[in-house]
Amino acid sequence: MTAAISATQLKPRLPLAEWPDPVSLEVDEGGWVVIRTTPARSGALLRLCVGLDEPAPHGNIELLGHRPGQLRRDAAFHFRRALGVALQPDGLVSNLPMLRNLVVPLVYSGQRSPDEADRRARAVLDALHLGDWTDARPSELPPDLRQVAALARALAPEPKLLLLEDPLNAVRSRQALEVLEYCKRQVPTALVTVFRRSEPLYDLADALMLWDARGLVAATEGVA
């Protein structure tokens, strides 16, 4: 089985108090790995995965065969088209209605024409029961639906790999499980971080890890 994410001795170049020691991590293709950790560690790890932070980190990280921190700017944008990302804060564009929040990334990343993007965005929003909110701005959505909308935007480009930061913590368990099952059917490979217990995610995870002061270790549901 090939690794979708492979990190060895990884540590941010700029010192982070909560990440004093390097960590290693592997996410195989076709697996959902859930890490319970703190917001600071989670944010730093996912930003390194996407290659949003400069300078490049210590150690090595590869996603889908690319080293995100070492790509040139245009190559980095091209590489990220294979990712579905939902970070904290969700970053939904506040002056765009929900439909266009999904359309704009599809069109501006060069993946689809506006008409195709419109069709795809409507299909994803309908699948996640957000079809009635296409014209609403993000601030008009209740917090739980806003989190689902951020997931919808991550799913719209049909990514090969999902990177999700504490998704659906405001969503009721049953609805969260339904949404996450849909996500897993659409994208079988994911790295998900959570800041507190999340039963639906623990149920779906192929591997569960705990990252605290002692380091990043495999965990069972009872421990995490």
Binding site: R47, V50, L52, R73, D74, F77, H78, F79, R80, R81, L83, G84, V85, A86, L87, Q88, P89, D90, G91, L92, V93, S94, N95, V103, V104, P105, V107, Y108, S109, G110, Q111, R112, S113, P114, A117, R153, A154, P157, L163
Partner: protein, 264 residues
């Protein structure tokens, strides 16, 4: 005390140098982004440009028009009073053409646009940074320069060029009214002196100047907005930096055009 002053000057110069380097890199990235614009986004891009023109130009017409009427009245009454007093009525047109049409119009219009649209651009983009909107788009493979910056640069450029022409037209018209009512200068004298002093090229020059000023304002305010940090307190700081940089730019541009015109 002297050493402190020298140290502060040195630090200031270093900061200026660092900012200039970052700004130069930003300008290079904007130029590269223009060539790599995704074909799929042309339609949405055009919509963004027209939205920007509507906000910066169309919505600002009453504001700019009001200022232009006031400026026209004040400048022309003052200028014509002095011209009549010193027996220089025939030079009134030349004075108006050079001061109002070529210099004051473009400069004041640019300043009004900085106050109204430049601040909005810097604040909006800084807020996008603070609330993770630019990061989210970047994480999905969208170059923020394509979505946030390029449409604004073109939209504000077109807007300032159009508003400058409007400003000049309204200023000259209100000046005519003021000159007629207060100084009793005849319509024929007023128009005649203007026709002698102005060339068709003036309109082209003023439009080009407005276009460059607008593009510079949008680029500088976008730059400062996108450079903001993650804290909400960064938003007003980004706006201040954007306004100061834009004001320096438009004043410098006016000086450059004046030097080129009078030395050629």
């Amino acid at each position: 005390m002297l050493l402190d002053a020298i140290a502060a000057t040195g630090q200031g110069a270093r900061g200026l140098g660092a900012s200039s380097a970052v700004l130069t890199r930003f300008a290079g990235a904007v130029v590269r982004a223009t060539w790599s614009y995704p074909r799929t986004a042309y339609r949405l891009w055009w919509r963004s440009v027209t939205n920007q023109v509507r906000f910066t130009a169309a919505d600002a017409i009453p504001f700019v028009g009001t200022v232009a009427v006031a400026v026209g009245g004040i400048v022309i009454v003052e200028a014509s009073a002095q011209a009549v007093r010193f027996g220089l009525s025939d030079t009134l047109g030349r004075l108006l053409a050079s001061v109002v049409v070529r210099e004051l119009g473009p400069l004041l219009t640019a300043i009004l646009v900085i106050g109204r649209s430049g601040t909005a651009i810097a604040a909006e983009l800084a807020a996008c940074r603070v609330y993770g909107e630019t990061d989210a788009l970047e994480a999905m493979g969208v170059n923020p320069l394509h979505y946030f910056v390029l449409p604004r640069i073109l939209g504000v450029g077109i807007s300032v060029a159009a508003l400058t022409l409007l400003f000049d037209a309204v200023t000259l018209s209100s000046g005519l009214l003021a000159a007629r009512l207060i100084q009793k200068i005849s319509l024929a004298d007023y128009v005649g002196s203007l026709r002698l002093a102005m060339q068709p090229w003036d309109i082209v020059e003023v439009s080009i100047k407005g276009m460059i000023a607008g593009m510079g304002i949008a680029a500088l305010c976008s730059f400062e907005g996108l450079r903001a940090g993650r804290a909400p307190t960064e938003i007003p700081r980004a706006v201040t930096r954007g306004v100061v940089a834009s004001l320096l730019f438009v004043v410098g541009l006016a000086g450059l055009f004046a030097v080129v015109r009078y030395t050629r």
